[in-house]
């Protein structure tokens, strides 16, 4: 009997306008969304390739001071299905001695034109949630109230048919209708992906999509139960559909925005500028300590005199061709400043950590509030399954912090700070005194600093006399990049399917329990339903 009712329901739905329009809607929306998502993914891929190239270039340095390895988080092809936070947070981290990695940078914008960020675009999972939840509600809103209005409900129950069987038959019938549509959406998505030359999925990714399909079914099951429950509670189908649609708009369009906006407004996060200012203060303290130390050191007798000096924004520098005493001075200075730089990075970390905790508190508030909406639970579960959620990104950032420690250990073990190679590639034994440099460079025209000053005064010129003869090895560019084969390599193990599934079990559990509860409530309501 249940099967007969289910089949009748299925055939009825199949010939209805809602099935045709719903099917058409999916036929238009799914490929369109995927094409848009693949286009965004292509942009991200281009960006990833360029970041990877930059990361490789970051290792092409001649001195260790300039070595700031860049690590790039691999792009998840499954972000085509759901972006999660992966497109907001950037994917590049620079490993620095003076700062622990806090947030990833670079490529937080998919679009090269920043104005286009004012247009939001929904991913496949969001569109799927919108369309199929709507269809689930449209197929169930009149399950009981509609039949009552047509007078068929009392006719059905004039036979010896249990209400539970009838209800179960209805649910199975709607399932039979929705299942092919959902399957069709996924098959269409798979087809679009297979036909896209830029995207290639591994077996694991196809399995993840399979799991995603099952979670989608659970979500649509829950949406069906919402429709069924409302239908069993109300006596008019028009009232049912109105209530269903308002609930739909609330879940899909209002709650997601409300939760984020409320979190943004009511959970305070200090501004990034404020944090940067506090970090700058610590940097100033570090700089003044370095200055103090510098003053306590014995300066080269003729003051600072550089030949080829290239400074950087992270306190890094590279030099060549400078006099021996200047080089020795820097060599001594580095042994004090660089370990201190690492200590100051540790000093900065509590501030950075507290900022990160504030961000996380705000995020958690938004996430918890959004759990009121089944579509948001579904979206969160999907992003966990696809590895584009916050926890996956946190694990990447945590790994970059560990990698920084490995990097520092590498420096310490190799005694890099105590080496001239930290800032110059000129072998210490080849370094010349200032007077030697002046004599050789001027081709013997001037022999020392005093004669150079005299020459400058007489000729009203700067240093052109020192460009007469070049000294080999006095340019940074004269040296090959460092051999870094012994440097630790960055590796990050991305979450497995089982691990991701475990992480989102609570959310899947929420969807299932809410569905079961609603079915039970629908059953109770239907048992007491006045069929006349």
């Amino acid at each position: 009997m249940i099967i007969s009712i289910a089949l009748k329901e299925f055939y009825n739905n199949l010939v209805s306008a809602r099935f045709a329009i719903g099917f058409l809607l999916c036929l238009v929306l799914v490929p369109l969304t995927l094409i848009v998502s693949i286009n965004d993914y292509k942009g991200k891929l281009r960006e990833y390739e360029s970041q990877k190239k930059e990361a490789e270039n970051s290792l092409q340095v001649r001195v260790y001071s300039k070595l700031h390895p860049e690590v790039v988080r691999p792009l998840k092809p499954l972000s085509i299905f759901t972006r999660g936070v992966s497109y907001n947070v950037g994917s590049k981290v620079k490993i620095l001695l003076g700062e622990k990695p806090m947030l990833s940078s670079g490529g937080s914008l998919v679009r090269e034109n920043p104005f286009l960020n004012a247009f939001f675009s929904m991913d496949f999972i969001t569109i799927l949630a919108i369309t199929l939840s709507l269809l689930a509600l449209l197929f169930t809103y009149d399950s009981c109230s509609g039949e009552r209005e047509q007078g068929t409900l009392k006719l059905v129950f004039s036979n010896s048919l249990g209400r539970a069987k009838f209800l179960l038959g209805k649910v199975i019938g709607v399932c039979l209708t929705l299942l092919p549509i959902t399957l069709f959406c996924y098959l269409l998505a798979a087809l679009v992906i297979i036909l896209s030359p830029q995207v290639s999925f591994s077996v694991m990714e196809w399995i993840s999509i399979g799991v995603l399909f099952v979670v989608s079914i659970i979500f649509f099951g829950l949406c069906m139960m919402v429709g069924l429950f409302i239908s069993c509670r109300l006596r008019s189908s028009v009232t049912s559909i109105i209530v269903c649609l308002f609930i739909w708009v609330l879940f899909l369009f209002i709650l997601p925005n409300l939760s984020t906006y409320a979190a943004r407004s009511f959970i305070n996060v200090s501004s990034r500028e404020k944090l940067d200012l506090a970090l700058q203060e610590i940097d100033s303290e570090f700089n003044s300590k370095c200055d103090q130390h510098q003053k306590s050191m014995e300066e080269p007798p003729y003051g600072m005199w550089y030949w080829n000096y290239w400074g950087g924004e992270y306190g890094d520098y590279e030099e060549a061709g400078s006099p021996d005493l200047v080089m020795k001075y820097h060599w001594q200075l580095n042994q004090f400043t660089e370990p201190l730089r690492i200590d100051y990075a540790d000093k900065k970390w509590p501030l950075q950590k507290s900022y990160l905790e504030e961000l996380d508190r705000q995020r958690k508030f938004a996430e918890r509030l959004s759990l009121l909406s089944p579509s948001e639970i579904f979206r969160l579960a999907a992003s966990t399954l696809c590895g584009t959620d916050v926890s996956a990104h946190y694990s990447f950032l945590e790994r970059t912090r560990e990698y920084r420690e490995e990097f520092i250990d590498f420096f310490k073990n190799k005694k890099i700070f105590e080496s001239y190679q930290y800032f110059t590639r000129q072998p210490p034994e080849n370094l010349m005194t200032l007077d030697e440099i002046i004599r050789v460079r001027s081709g013997g025209l001037v022999n020392n600093q005093q004669e150079l000053s005299e020459w400058q005064r007489l000729n009203k010129d700067g240093f052109s006399v020192l460009f007469k003869v070049d000294i080999p090895g006095s340019h940074n560019e004269d040296y090959e990049p460092l051999d870094l084969s012994d440097m630790p390599k960055f590796n990050w193990q991305q979450g497995t399917i089982a691990g991701n599934l475990k992480k989102c079990l609570d959310k899947i559990g929420m969807l299932v329990s809410a569905g079961v509860l609603l079915f039970f409530l629908s059953f109770v309501s239907f048992v007491r339903y006045d069929v006349r």
């Binding site: 950037g90 920043p114 286009l116 247009f119 449209l138 308002f246 369009f253 409300l258 906006y261 407004s265």
Partner: protein, 465 residues
């Protein structure tokens, strides 16, 4: 007759469940949205004031130490939080809202991270525009989808038309009643929002704010009229209210989801701009060309001797570098502006998007504000440079070789910060706003007229049996 129909329909609507639910939802969102705005705005204001004090203090010190350092120092200007953002934030947080400039140039713009949390997904603020564009438009479709087809199913339509009631009058009466019911529903929500704003005193309600609110209410009414005509159309297309509902939902999804969400894709495919990499390589190439042609000593400098002859070469070289970089960048920026405007043109198929742009124009936020600041900042930078050159000309210790990035060859004297021209953001003028709004106004009117005309024609041919 028309009044009678309107009165009857309004009474029917007022008693309907859909109005009650819409009203509760609207009031709730207006209340929560305004409370969130008040809280958000206070925080942003506080943060902005802190930034402003630091900005002024930093510039005062720079100006007093050396006017050249103020002129060449690169600074960032951030925009004041908008007090009228409770009407619409106009996506201000996602559009470029930070400007980099010096006394020599306005270099560019970026999106300020500020208090933005990268772990939160992009969201729409629950302001008046959002409520009307999403909730009210949805409610209007729900009010209208069965206005004709529903009556046909109940067989009341044939009975009504058995009386000497012209079809046009009936349709127009129903149409007006939906509009009036919706506007009736909006009044308590907007009232509640205004009460919260007045009670908390966060936002000063000035004449300008009142004018902006009035302007917004006008375009909101126009939007409701437009959406109601589409709702009416969905009702007369079909003989069954269920099909009408599906058509209404499809139209709503098209307006709210499909058009805005695919805009970037179509824009990037149809109107591409050059990539950042290609712009960077053009700049690098321009720099290389300049290096090749620069006279010897163009990079020579001496911190102690401003009159070192090579400083003039260096100043010229740096100016040439800045000019060639800015020529390339300005061309790129213009491409960006054009692409963004084209993206907007692609979304005019959705009255919801059109309403969003109209709200932006009325409140002077978003892109209208960006363009105004961008233009004004360029004008102010010219003033600042002129002032700097005037002061520099009076200094005999300066060789007057203007170098946009360095302090070697211009005045090293300080100046009274009170005399330095300071940038003050001005709200977009009525002309700015109107020139941005009028095409969208025309489009809304056109859509309304077409949808209502189609509804009228279809209703004339409607089989009421």
């Amino acid at each position: 007759m028309l009044l009678e129909i309107i009165f009857r329909e309004i009474c029917h609507n007022v008693l309907s469940l859909r109005l009650h639910i819409s009203l509760i939802l609207t009031l709730l969102i207006f209340g929560v949205g305004t409370a969130a705005f008040v809280r958000n705005y206070s925080g942003e204001r506080e943060e902005y004031n802190r930034w402003k004090v630091e900005f002024i203090e930093k510039n005062r010190k720079l100006a007093e130490s050396s006017l050249t350092r103020l002129a060449v120092g690169r600074q960032n200007l951030i925009l004041t939080p908008r007090a009228n953002a409770f009407i619409t934030d106009a996506r201000g947080k996602y559009l470029p809202n930070r400007f980099e400039f010096s006394g020599y140039n306005v270099f560019g713009f970026s999106v300020r991270p500020g208090g933005a949390n990268p772990y939160l997904s992009a969201f729409e603020e629950l302001n008046w525009m959002f409520i009307i564009a999403i909730i009210i438009s949805f409610a209007v479709f729900l009010f209208t989808f069965d206005t004709i087809s529903g009556e046909k199913e109940l067989r009341t339509l044939s009975q009504t038309l058995a009386n000497p009631v012209p079809r046009g009058t009936l349709l127009f009466g129903k149409y007006l009643s939906v509009i009036l019911t919706t506007l009736l529903m909006l009044v308590p929500g907007i009232g509640l929002s205004l009460i919260i704003l007045l009670v908390t005193g966060t936002v000063a309600i000035t004449t300008e704010t009142i004018l902006e609110i009035t302007g917004f209410l006008f375009i909101a009414a126009l939007f409701v009229i437009c959406i109601a005509s589409f709702g009416l159309l969905s009702s007369v297309i079909s003989r069954s209210s269920k099909v009408s509902l599906l058509i209404a939902l499809t139209i709503w999804l098209f307006f709210v989801v499909i058009v805005p969400n695919t805009a970037v894709f179509w824009t990037q495919s149809l109107f591409p701009v050059q990539s950042v990499e290609s712009v960077q390589s053009k700049i690098q190439q321009a720099f290389l060309d300049l290096e090749k042609n620069a006279p010897d000593g163009s990079w020579s400098s001496s911190g102690n001797n401003p009159f070192l002859p090579q400083h003039e070469l260096r100043a010229n070289h740096q100016t040439n570098r800045m000019n060639s970089q800015m020529n390339i960048m300005n061309a790129f920026y213009n491409e960006m502006f054009r692409q963004f405007e084209q993206a907007r043109m692609l979304t005019i198929f959705s009255p919801v998007s059109v309403f969003e742009y109209l709200s932006e124009a009325v409140t002077g936020g978003g892109y209208v504000r960006f363009q105004k600041v961008w233009r004004d900042l360029h004008a102010w930078q010219t003033q600042l440079l002129a002032y700097f050159k005037e002061v520099d000309a009076k200094d005999p210790a300066s060789p007057h070789w203007y170098n946009p990035y360095e302090y070697f060859s211009t005045t090293r004297k300080g100046a009274n910060y009170g005399e330095v021209p300071v940038f003050k953001e001005k709200a977009p003028t009525f002309r700015d706003r109107f020139s941005s709004a009028w095409p969208y106004l025309l489009i809304t009117v056109l859509y309304t007229a077409v949808a209502f005309f189609l509804s009228f024609v279809l209703f004339l041919r409607y089989d009421v049996r």
